[in-house]
């Protein structure tokens, strides 16, 4: 490895940057830890913003183009903020043939959001997943990280409605 410059200062005084810093240092600022560092940043902030990507690029001594290339290649990374709550509808094969598209349609009809979109009041983001491996309980929907199995549209709407009324 070429000589590494001094660690840059984090973009803000937000304490969450300390966790990102720890991830960067854990791997000795090696370029191959980029994906690990982006995971940590997304866990801390919910998404990857431009100044964060620039920061990681400098810290790992990588061109910003490469960091951006990786951040946009992988589906898990999001470059825009999510709503307060996320509802992830699994669209794996088992869920698909057992009614996941109907759940998505019901969510769209009620809240006017397509997969990947967030409601205007920023309360709800609807996302899809390729397969969360809960095929035995298809169709599955993940409500803020909590997996619900054997869902029908009305169940899913009920769970989401609870968030919307707060």
């Amino acid at each position: 490895m070429s000589s590494i410059s001094a660690m840059p200062a984090p973009p803000s005084s937000d304490k969450r940057w300390k966790l990102v810093d720890a991830a960067i240092k854990r791997h000795g600022r090696a370029g191959h830890s980029l994906i690990e560092c982006l995971h940590t940043m997304q866990e801390c902030f919910g998404y990857l913003d431009e100044q964060g990507l620039k920061y990681v690029a400098t810290a790992l001594n990588l061109p910003l183009s490469k960091v951006y290339g990786v951040a946009t290649f992988y589906h898990i990374f999001s470059l825009k903020p999510q709503g307060e709550h996320t509802c992830v509808v699994c669209m794996g094969t088992a869920c698909y043939i057992k009614g996941a598209p109907q759940i998505l349609a019901a969510l769209e009809e009620k809240y006017g959001v397509k997969p990947g979109e967030t409601t205007k009041d920023n309360k709800l983001s609807v996302l899809t997943a390729r397969c969360i491996g809960s095929c035995g309980l298809a169709p599955a929907v993940v409500f803020d990280g909590d997996v619900g199995g054997k869902m029908v549209s009305s169940d899913a709407l009920k769970r989401v409605e609870k968030w919307m009324n707060i």
């Binding site: 090696a30 370029g31 191959h32 830890s33 980029l34 994906i35 690990e36 982006l38 995971h39 490469k66 290339g69 990786v70 290649f73 992988y74 589906h75 898990i76 990374f77 669209m91 794996g92 094969t93 088992a94 698909y96 043939i97 057992k98 997943a129 390729r130 397969c131 969360i132 491996g133 809960s134 095929c135 035995g136 309980l137 298809a138 599955a140 909590d146 997996v147 619900g148 199995g149 054997k150």
Partner: protein, 553 residues
């Protein structure tokens, strides 16, 4: 950890468990957890304590018991570890009844009948510890003969002998392609580099497959043991587990297992008092299906975009950071410890002529018993679907089994009596794949299913080679037209041509196999394509036919 220390640990663990008359095992794998098994476990622990039975009854979390649809599953075992009863759908409110039934009359309303074929016809090698041991405690794995195979290798077998034993077993890669594992190991072992790597592919990307997830969540140490044996046999000293970020519980249990193994000296430097060193690190995937392809996976571990590269050179010659690298799938590694413990000949005695051992299948879709089953290679497809799977619910008619995910195909009724192994599945145009089996009934439209998979491949194509990037997109467009009822016969001819083109010119497996769902549905369900194109209707009533709607208006 030396052999004596290992034995000491086993004795301590056995001694500590001596007083327990019963154990209540609660499944805490992802399936049952989403049915709130964690609350069940807490309630049972509290109940045992409240009744002052905590010296007699041990309540513990265990791995997957298989029948995910009936979760949370709870099993009561006696001091000799023989099963008394299995309960299904156990919630916190049932705790009192369940605890009271230990060693007594079972709670009839909760009983899950384990004499049904779903349980009775399974042969467990990979899943032998699942549902029995606590995945978060290395001691339980060690008592269940864990790390004995590694110990045997290090003390009694030269690396070449280990490779020989794996070759003798006839084990083939469980990730999908079925490449002979022994041959792969031998190639890496022969490479002259000082630095070599072992990678466990835990990027289970096929939608509808959750075998690896279950193994990682239920018995993580077995995978580590398999990797350590592989490292010893091939001369590697570093390992990576590339696991999907979508499996947070599997990642957590793996990291925990690595820490425990390091603590007792089973991983690290000078393992079991020998000169063998091996360290393992978990690397997270980030939601790219193509990273299941080995060269793409290697790029991803290196922190790059997960794009594949042409082979050769194969990773066995030039892999991670240009060094010889052994890549095997989770289930392949999980088969290694029992093979070394019981011998390659024992493993080769199970299964068919060219596919040895067992295979774990994930049954899902329109089938009564959804969950995980492990059966010997060569079991008839009909037996898996109708006997173990319990057939199709709601009196519906069977239509097809989809195997191999987006790279596989749909197997129709006429092949139900086929013996399931690598070669017979390939013969009918599908692939074994990693083991996902999605059962479809008459409510599924096969053209819609083909479109579903093509949308998947189109979106997951990494974009590096033109046939895959543009071809999947064009195929998807035509399939959309078919399901719209607006496709022409010429476009169907073009669809067939594209299938051929992608198969023969794509850079990696993703593009080469992407046409499989289309090819098999066109071959076996041509009538459904014709109904959409000529009859302007969808026989299953799934697709919204544009033309018909316009006529109605």
């Amino acid at each position: 950890m030396t052999a004596e220390e290992l034995n000491e640990l086993i004795e301590q663990e056995v001694e500590a468990n001596k007083l327990f008359v019963h154990s209540i095992n609660v499944c805490v794998a992802a399936g049952c957890l989403s049915s709130h098994a964690d609350q069940t476990l807490d309630a049972l622990k509290k109940e045992v304590k409240a009744k002052g039975l905590d010296k007699e009854i041990k309540v513990k979390g265990v791995g997957c018991m298989g029948l995910c649809a009936a979760g949370p599953l709870v099993e009561i075992r006696d001091a000799s570890n023989a099963a008394q009863v299995m309960y299904q759908g156990v919630q916190g409110e049932h705790a009192e009844q369940v605890v009271a039934s230990a060693g007594k009359q079972s709670v009839q309303s909760l009983v899950c009948d384990t004499s049904i074929p779903f349980f009775a016809k399974q042969v467990k090698i990979v899943l032998e510890n699942c549902g029995l041991i606590d995945p978060e405690r290395i001691e339980e794995y060690i008592v269940a003969e864990g790390y004995r195979a590694l110990q045997k290798c290090l003390q009694e077998l030269a690396p070449t002998k280990v490779v020989e034993e794996v070759t003798k077993s006839g084990l083939r890669g469980r990730g999908g392609a079925g490449f002979p594992t022994g041959l792969k190991w031998a190639t890496v072992a022969k490479a002259q580099n000082k630095q070599k790597y072992v990678i466990c592919n835990a990027d289970e990307g096929d939608p509808g497959a959750f075998m690896d997830r279950s193994v990682l969540e239920s018995d993580p140490h077995r995978v580590l043991e398999g990797m350590a044996i592989a490292a010893y046999a091939t001369g590697a000293n570093r390992g990576y587990i590339y696991c999907r970020a979508e499996y947070p519980l599997a990642v957590k249990r793996l990291k925990n297992a690595i820490k425990q193994a390091e603590r007792v000296g089973i991983l690290g430097q000078g393992i079991m008092g020998t000169t063998f060193n091996f360290t393992v690190e978990v690397r997270l995937g980030a939601g790219a299906f193509v990273c299941g392809e080995e060269t793409a996976l290697i790029h991803s571990i290196e922190g790059k975009r997960g794009t594949p590269r042409p082979r050769p050179p194969f990773p066995a010659q030039s892999g991670l950071w240009g060094c010889p690298t052994l890549i095997n799938n989770v289930e392949t590694f999980a088969n290694i410890p029992p093979i070394l413990r019981k011998g390659g000949a024992w493993f080769a005695s199970i299964g068919t002529e060219k596919s040895k051992g067992t295979k774990v299948f994930a049954l899902a879709g329109r089938v009564s018993n959804t969950g995980l089953v492990e059966v010997p290679m060569g079991m008839k497809l009909r037996e898996i679907v109708f006997s173990l799977g319990g057939g199709i619910p709601d009196g519906k008619k069977f239509k097809a089994v989809q195997t191999g995910g987006p790279s596989g195909g749909c197997i129709p009724e006429q092949f139900l009596d086929m013996e399931v192994d690598y070669d017979s599945i390939a013969k009918v145009g599908s692939i074994m794949g990693s083991g996902g089996m999605i059962i479809m009934d008459e409510t599924s439209c096969m053209v819609d299913v083909a479109k579903f998979f093509m949308e998947f491949c189109k979106s997951e194509s990494c974009g590096k080679c033109v046939p895959c990037r543009v071809g999947t997109s064009q195929m998807y467009d035509i399939l959309c037209k078919v399901t719209d009822g607006t496709a022409t016969p010429e476009e169907i001819a073009m669809l067939e041509e594209l299938c051929d083109l992608l198969k023969s010119t794509s850079l990696c497996g993703l593009g080469m196999t992407a046409p499989n769902p289309v090819l098999t549905t066109m071959k076996y369900f041509r009538n459904e394509y014709d109904a959409h194109i000529q009859g302007k209707k969808c026989p299953a009533g799934v697709c919204k036919i544009k033309a018909a709607q316009e006529v109605l208006v």
